[in-house]
Each structure stands twice: as structure tokens, then as C-alpha cells.
């Protein structure tokens, strides 16, 4: 018999025997594992809601989040236990969470019933949620374990969403920065990072997203949002009784325009470093609600150029890039202003071997050979989004002239 045929037969036979052995062991252990998991969840109820005296299952609403596996009401009415199951990007093994919430809306305890991540976010992390209300304004995400801690936080938020639909539980009050972040994230999706969250920083009452693609001010439970250029987009009310206030709209427009002007001063300096004779005009394009957070026109050597700054999310956070293009949309300069990508991997984005590929390319038609950074999916996605957004913003600016 041919050697190759023998090899194939031997390998297939080994695979079949191993499969049979695994099936037999699985037949014996599967029911025991299922029972163990059920017991672990049940035993976590008392731990999650101290002082509980038995539970009665409550049917979740039909549109309850998928992470919610069960809602249980304590017999004496002191609160509820919600069982959750979620996964993060780095593990297919589900994270099991049991959260005990009192009728006052405060988290009494959280128990992790299953967690098999390679990198733990620490035994103390769930405890930071104890004492929080539905606003979850206290706990921070864990640096270096962002995906797992985000999955954990979102699951706990889902528990409240499901509970509010079927039970009379007090809602917590969101802080101003939470309202601002939620409003910016909802109206300007480019402000959402890779975990789907929008983070904001505050200065003199004005909140700005980490990518500087949106601004917001909060007054009387209403968040007023502008784009990166100070153009007013809209408001989001966090209280049924609250209404939009015209003076607050003017205030956020003025504050955002002022912030954009300060950013533009720095960007103008960057342009002058590249083109010594440049006379820079700051543009305020309307309808550019993307990762583009700065637009400028300048002349140098008799030619007119446009500079656009973008901020998209790579693996380590925002990747800030400045494009300089001529009137025909041909790239003249490509400069990475700042990034936090991993050394020897994503940080290739700022090296001349990579950035040198851009000049001469046409916006909207940049070759994948130029854009793609091998082995760095997040960084590549960031530069691709930036390229698309700059092309769209350039067209918008040209059409507006």
C-alpha cells in the first residue's frame, strides 16, 4: 500500500479512537458539569443578596438583554438577584455573574460564578461595584484588561435594564460626565472606542471626547452636544421633565468653538513647521460628524492645500493623524501627531517606512498596500477609517466653497 494512504488511514483511525474516547468521557461528565454549574449559580444567590430568605423566579421581559439569564425576587422583598452570562473578545468561555440588587436600586454584592480569562482583572474589581446604583458612576475600567472589564460593566448595566422592565427598583442618578459621554457617543459614533464606550474629559464645564470629535455641556439633566468644530448637533434629556434651554445651546456652541480655536492654534503651528510660508485659515465645515476633528486651508509657494486632522481608535487608544492634500485631493503629507500603539507592532504607523507611502496617493483611492499594517488589525482599521473620513470631509469642504 502506498505510504501516503497508510499515513492517512493511521491518522484517521487515531482521530476516530480519540473522538470515541472523548464522547464516552463527555457522556459521563456532562451532566455532572451542568449540575455543578447550576449549584454554583444557586449558591451564589445568598452571597449576592445577604440576608435573603429564598427566591422566586421572575420572567424577564421579552426584549431583555441577551446577557440576562434569570431574575429572582427575594421572598421578603428585600431585593432581586440577576444572573448574567457574557463573553469578552479574548475568551469564548462565558463569564458568569450573579448580582444582588436591593429594592433601593443599590448593588448589595456581585459574585463571579465562572471566569476563565488568561488575564484576571483582579478579585477586587467586582467589589468596586458594591454600593453603586444604576448609574454605575463609580467603577473604572481596568487598564490592560479593558475588554473583560467592559464586558463585566455592560453586563451589570444590562441587569438594571432587565430589572427596571419587570420590577419596582429605584433608579440611580447619572453624573454629568456620564450624561455627556452617553450623549456624545449616541450622536457621534466616531467618538466610541473599540469597546463601544465613549470617554470624556472635562474642562470648565465643557466635556470633550478623548478623540476630540465631540463636545458637550450638561445643564439641568440635559446634555447639549456639538461636533468637533462647534456646530450644534442636538440635546439629550435624562429627565422626563427637563426641556432644552436656548441659552445652554449658545453656551455650548461658544465653548466648543473656543476649544476648537485653541486646538487649531497648535495645528497651525504644525502646518507652519512643515510649510514655512503657510498662511493658515481655520475651516468650520458643517455636517462633518466623523473622526475628522480639524480642517484648515493654507497657501504655500502659490499652491493651495488643505490639512485635516483625524482621531480614530487603534489598539492602544486614539491615533491622531494630520493629512495635507492639494486642491485635487492628492496627499502631500501624512503625519502621525500622536498614538499609543504597541512598540514594534502598531507603532509602525508613525515610522517613515509606513508614512512615506502616502504622499502622491489620491484621497479616497489609497492602495491597501499603503494602508495595511501587517499583523495589526486594530491599527489598520484606525488608519482605514481615518482615510475614508478625511476623503469625505475633503469633499464636503470643497463642495461648500
Amino acid at each position: 500500500m502506498n505510504d501516503s494512504v497508510k499515513s492517512v488511514i493511521a491518522l484517521v483511525a487515531i482521530c476516530l479512537v480519540v473522538t470515541l474516547a472523548l464522547s464516552a468521557v463527555n457522556y459521563v461528565t456532562a451532566p455532572i458539569i451542568a449540575e455543578n454549574n447550576a449549584n454554583a449559580v444557586q449558591s451564589s444567590f445568598g452571597e449576592a443578596l445577604p440576608g435573603a430568605d429564598g427566591f422566586e423566579e421572575v420572567e424577564p421581559a421579552a426584549d431583555a438583554p441577551e446577557t440576562v439569564k434569570g431574575i429572582y425576587k427575594e421572598n421578603n422583598g428585600i431585593g432581586y438577584v440577576v444572573t448574567l452570562e457574557t463573553t469578552s473578545q479574548y475568551s469564548e468561555s462565558p463569564m458568569g455573574i450573579t448580582v444582588g440588587i436591593g429594592t433601593d436600586g443599590i448593588i448589595k454584592n456581585i459574585v463571579l460564578t465562572n471566569y476563565a480569562e488568561t488575564k484576571d482583572f483582579g478579585a477586587d474589581y467586582p467589589a468596586t461595584y458594591v454600593g453603586q446604583d444604576s448609574a454605575l458612576s463609580g467603577p473604572e475600567l481596568v487598564s490592560g484588561v479593558t475588554y473583560s472589564s467592559t464586558a463585566f460593566r455592560n453586563a451589570v448595566a444590562d441587569a438594571y435594564t432587565a430589572l427596571f422592565a419587570v420590577a419596582d427598583v429605584a433608579a440611580g442618578e447619572m453624573s454629568d460626565d456620564q450624561m455627556a459621554a452617553e450623549a456624545i457617543g449616541e450622536m457621534l459614533p466616531a467618538s466610541l472606542d473599540n469597546t463601544g464606550a465613549c470617554k470624556v474629559e472635562e474642562a470648565d464645564g465643557l466635556f470633550v471626547s478623548t478623540s476630540r470629535t465631540g463636545y458637550a455641556m450638561v445643564a439641568d439633566k440635559v446634555a447639549y452636544v456639538t461636533d468637533a468644530f462647534g456646530n450644534y448637533i442636538g440635546s439629550k434629556s435624562f429627565d422626563e421633565a427637563a426641556t432644552e434651554d436656548a441659552s445652554a445651546v449658545e453656551a455650548v456652541k461658544a465653548a466648543a468653538a473656543d476649544a476648537y480655536a485653541k486646538v487649531s492654534e497648535k495645528n497651525s503651528e504644525r502646518i507652519v513647521k512643515m510649510y514655512e510660508d503657510a498662511e493658515v485659515t481655520t475651516l468650520v465645515p458643517a455636517g462633518v460628524q466623523s473622526s475628522v476633528n480639524g480642517a484648515y486651508r493654507f497657501t504655500s509657494g502659490g499652491a493651495t492645500y488643505y490639512a485635516m486632522t483625524t482621531s480614530t481608535f487603534g489598539f492602544g487608544g486614539p491615533v491622531n493623524i494630520m493629512y495635507v492634500v492639494d486642491e485635487n485631493g492628492t496627499i502631500a503629507k501624512f503625519k502621525v501627531i500622536s498614538h499609543n500603539e504597541t512598540e514594534y507592532y502598531g507603532d509602525v504607523v508613525s515610522q517613515s517606512a509606513y508614512t512615506g507611502g502616502y504622499p502622491g496617493q489620491n484621497l479616497g483611492d489609497i492602495s491597501d498596500d499603503v494602508l495595511v499594517i501587517s499583523g495589526c488589525t486594530f491599527t489598520t482599521n484606525a488608519v482605514k477609517t481615518a482615510a475614508d473620513d478625511v476623503a469625505a470631509a475633503f469633499n464636503a469642504v470643497k463642495e461648500a466653497q
Binding site: 493511521a10 487515531i14 472523548l22 463527555n26 461528565t29 458539569i33
Partner: protein
């Protein structure tokens, strides 16, 4: 092939050819799970069981498995035993299963197991391979136990989870972290070298004949000769 007594096959894995401190294999789990003695013991025993079972099966099938597909066959057998251990541990020792997490599944790619399959089990009898598995698995467990003991006592002030008075108040968290793992690893290798006076294993034992990549490696003199002939 050098003739070895059964006792020497059994005992060599503990000190003389300890897979962790002498052969420096399986470093990843050694550093990852030895922050506590219970995790170290759990991982050591699980890997030892897989090693013994896979050594026995591979030795029994050594004349049946064609040379061309020996590595994929070994991997399938090893992965099968690892999955069985995972299922049994999940069913009967769920706390330990949770504590070991992903590292349990990573036993499949533990180079000690594939290394022993290729270097020993595929060339020796079932009994000798079983003894080698017990010796090497025992040596691996012993090494992890030593690492775990030092790291847990100094890093957490406890042993097997039981708090040690006095030390509890003066624990050094450095030892439970990755850097502490490397530090203890280095110190223990030095200790083993001191005990064996640096002659734990003959360097001749690492020749091309025992290397899993011997048929493709460009540095192997046999391949150089055949390459010249081809030209």
C-alpha cells in the same frame, strides 16, 4: 541506543534531567501557575497524568504510526488526553478547574509532553515509557511545587491557602508577580546546578539525533550532505 535501568529511567526526571530546572522546558505554565501551591500542584498532576497516558499510548503505537504523520498523531493523542483531563477536572474538581483556567488547555502545547513523546516514548517499550512519564511528570510536579512554595510563602505569606502568622504581615507581593516568578525560577535553576555541580545532563544528549526537527533542519549534517548530493 544507550541502555538504561528501569530505576534510572524513573528517577532521572526528578533531578538529573528535571524537565523544568535542567531541560528548561514548560517554562510558560511554570511561571504562570506557580503563584500558589494549589495551582502549581493541580497543573503538575494534570500534566503528569497526560504525560504518562500519552507516553504509554504513543509507545504502544510506535510501530503502527507512520513516520510521516507521527507529529500530528502525537498531537491528536495528547490533545485527547488533555481534553479528558479537562472534562474530569471540571466535573469532579471544579474549583481547581476554574483556578487553572486557560493554562489547563495549554498542556496540549507543553513541550515536555511532545518532547518526551518524540525523544523517548517513540523509541522505547511501554513499561519504560510509562516509567519515563512518571519520572518526568513527577519531576515537573516537584519543580512546580518548589516554585509555588517559595512564591506563595514569600509573596502571599501563606501555604496551600493557609495563612502563616508573622509572614502574613510581611509578605512581598513581588514574588506573586511575573518578575518574581522569573527570579525564583533563576534561583532554583542555580540551586539545581549547584547540587549537580553543573553536570546534570551531558550535552551530547542534545545532538541532532534527538531533535524533532532533525529531518528538515538545515544545520543537521545529514541534511547538508543530502543537499550537496541534490546539487
Amino acid at each position: 541506543m544507550e541502555k538504561q535501568s528501569k530505576l534510572s529511567i524513573l528517577l532521572k526526571g526528578f533531578i538529573k534531567e528535571n524537565p523544568v530546572f535542567v531541560l528548561v522546558l514548560g517554562t510558560c505554565p511554570t511561571l504562570a501557575v506557580t503563584d500558589s501551591v494549589s495551582r502549581a500542584l493541580g497543573m503538575g498532576i494534570a500534566a503528569a497524568l497526560v504525560l504518562i497516558c500519552s507516553n504509554i499510548v504513543i509507545s504502544a503505537l510506535r510501530k503502527v504510526i507512520p513516520d510521516k504523520v507521527r507529529i500530528p498523531s502525537y498531537i491528536v493523542i495528547i490533545a485527547g488526553f488533555v481534553t479528558i483531563i479537562q472534562m474530569l477536572m471540571n466535573a469532579y474538581l471544579p474549583d481547581l478547574f476554574t483556578a487553572l483556567g486557560t493554562y489547563l488547555a495549554l498542556i496540549v502545547v507543553n513541550c515536555i509532553i511532545l518532547g518526551r513523546a518524540e525523544m523517548f516514548a517513540s523509541k522505547h517499550t511501554v513499561l519504560e515509557s510509562a516509567l519515563d512519564g512518571i519520572g518526568m511528570g513527577g519531576g515537573f510536579t516537584l519543580a512546580l511545587f518548589c516554585m509555588g512554595t517559595v512564591r506563595e510563602i514569600l509573596g502571599s505569606g501563606s501555604f496551600l491557602g493557609f495563612k502563616i502568622p508573622f509572614l502574613q504581615d510581611y509578605s512581598i507581593p513581588f514574588f506573586t508577580q511575573a518578575a518574581g516568578g522569573f527570579f525564583v525560577f533563576g534561583v532554583l535553576i542555580a540551586v539545581v546546578n549547584k547540587i549537580t555541580k553543573g553536570k546534570a545532563i551531558s550535552k551530547k544528549g542534545f545532538g541532532c539525533a534527538n531533535c524533532p526537527s532533525r529531518t528538515t533542519c538545515q544545520e543537521n549534517p545529514e541534511n547538508l550532505d543530502s543537499a550537496k548530493e541534490a546539487k
